[in-house]
Symmetry: C2
DNA sequence: CATAGTCTCGTAAACGTTTACGGAGATCGG
DNA sequence: CCGATCTCCGTAAACGTTTACGAGACTATG
């Protein structure tokens, strides 16, 4: 048997709905005996407070929305990237009875309009953004709507929004220094679409590092490619037939690395021998041959930080996370491989 | 400027909230002039009806939940798999103003309890399931709660629930016949955890096909492995050192194939030469060397069918999809590769 | 002109919950 | 034994929306 509505549950117990509600919500003014009775009955009859009614009254939904776009060509992240991050986010939210849902924006719908719609409806108490773009209306939009949010990926049009982004500057420094010290002079970069800001940031950092060594990043060595196997394959082919082939390449699209390897091999080049490859860690990375030299990070911990940063900006939870970082560049560690 | 609440919007227009609501919802009893005025003002002031209020009154949320579990070790599918399916689902839902969200169940929470909680709250009008298990409480639970749903993956405890599953029987027939005709006699199978029913179904089908040829599926040739690179790698190693090595393997875990290849290679075996490999299509499949012989399917179309099947079981939309399949085995086509 | 019909709109109830408020009974201190 | 305090609970308002209902102002029709 299943009971629908607090009214039915209250009638069933010969108690007023007020008391039932208080009992369920752990409020003070309720006898411990009746509380037990209520809890037991709710459990037995499968009563759970209606989401809409509760949200309407309380003014908060208990839901956090993580916006992502369907159709996988947009972001450069590997296949299990988000699921790992989510797992970290959840462990934090679970402590507060918050639920994480992914807001799925169709590839046919305008992301800005979608987000505005969802936020304006009051669907979620907080928003997580991903795949931030170089000019990203969404930051201003969320500011305007005054809803707490955090971005996975930095904002370039800076007005103080909270975010956590990968430390691309650190990555650029480590990668470029390593390559230069090993004698590389012509170094290429593979990044996803220019509109995503991670590639933009990374290139800037690379230029800085290279300049310190009196080197430059040649325009014809910057490859934009879809963050998938096909994109990597094409770049591999392109590299092989490049009139002035670089001796190394750094790959931001972790989904493209295996494609790149096979593209190179198909053209008779051996990664790590004919051309050094440094990438981002992905599940495949250590099973590639040669093993990929790559930057690793704890996605689960990243998710935890992401959640804490968001909660820190929500009035109801801020006091619990007094020293959560408002903005953070997430450190990555280099894992030695055989590819570069 | 942003307006909050239909009351404010109505006051701003010197109109009653009833009329405003009717205007926004395209109801009949409203002058076309005032409707335009309302629509324009709503657009300009950024008014969108509150989700909770609307859902509470209408008794439906306009939200469809796709349940999935975070932490990627459970299901064999990755982000791109789901994102492609979602894209298809969305194109159908968009026509009806329905929104798809992914209900993310933490790996630390019991999936059944999670689903019960979400459904009982009335969070969504319909549910999509994935990663169905051999004994899956969720089917009975959704039946009991009388909420429309569809599963991506069949139910084995059969009481007529709607689902779409991959045609593993067809796949088994095609794959096994092909291998047998090419002279293979000892054929292995790699599948994810036994608790997921796809592996169970597939094995059964394989046994049937093999029996027709007077062959059997040896117990020591059935490998259960985590649906990831590491799992595949270990099986590759295991195959290489198998006392009576099979000459072919069919792989259900698409996330494991590259790992399997590298595991084999690390042990000195060449896929497609020393051992035939047939798998499922994945973004990597055609960039592997040798190219993977695999079964492909249109994920986007699968999503469309999934959505239509669900809508067909929702009273409000059923009439629009009179001949949507209630249950469906989704066809897959074999793509010739070099691996087997 | 009277009546019926049409068009448009305002009013108010309802959806399921939470919570401020007040009241009834019990307990306690003097 | 009386007033004060405490414990527990019921009542009712409020959250923002949709919609059934009815009313007023026209128009058409006879």
């Amino acid at each position: 048997m299943v009971v629908k509505g607090i009214r039915q549950l209250a009638d069933h117990l010969d108690i007023s709905i007020g008391t039932v509600s208080r009992a369920l919500n752990g409020k003070k003014d309720v006898n411990e005996d009746t509380r037990r009775r209520v809890l037991e009955a709710a459990e037995r009859l499968g009563y759970v407070a209606n989401q809409s009614g509760r949200a309407l009254r309380k003014g908060s939904t208990g839901v956090i929305g993580f916006m992502m776009q369907t159709g996988h060509e947009i972001t450069g992240q590997g296949d299990t990237f988000f699921m790992s991050v989510f797992d970290g986010v959840q462990t934090v939210f679970a402590r507060h009875g918050l639920d994480l849902v992914a807001l799925l924006c169709s590839s046919e719908e305008d992301p800005d309009a979608y987000l505005e719609r969802v936020v304006a409806r009051g669907f979620a108490d907080g928003i997580m953004l991903s795949a931030t773009r170089r000019v990203d209306e969404r930051f201003a939009l969320l500011d305007r709507r005054k809803i707490p949010f955090v971005a996975l990926g930095r904002s370039l049009t800076d007005v103080g929004q909270p975010f956590i982004d990968l430390d691309f500057e650190g990555m650029a420094t480590t990668a470029m220094t390593r390559l230069v010290e090993r004698g590389h002079r012509r170094i290429a970069v593979l990044r996803p679409h220019d509109d995503l800001n991670l590639g933009h940031v990374f290139l800037g950092a690379c230029r800085l590092v290279l300049a310190e060594h009196g080197l430059t990043l040649e325009d014809d060595l910057i490859f934009d490619a879809s963050p998938n196997e096909a994109g990597g394959y094409r770049v591999g082919q392109g590299l092989a037939h490049h009139p002035d082939r670089p001796s190394a390449i750094v790959v931001l699209n972790d989904g493209s690395v295996t494609g790149l390897f096979h593209g190179l091999e198909a053209a008779g080049l051996t990664p790590g021998k004919d051309i050094a490859v440094i990438g981002l860690h992905s599940p495949q990375a250590r099973y590639l041959s040669p093993r990929l030299t790559c930057f690793d990070l704890s996605l689960r911990d990243l998710g935890i930080s992401l959640a804490e940063t968001l909660l820190a900006s929500m009035p109801a939870y801020a006091s619990l996370y007094p020293n959560a970082a408002h903005r953070q560049l997430w450190p990555m560690t280099l894992i030695d491989g055989d590819s570069g």
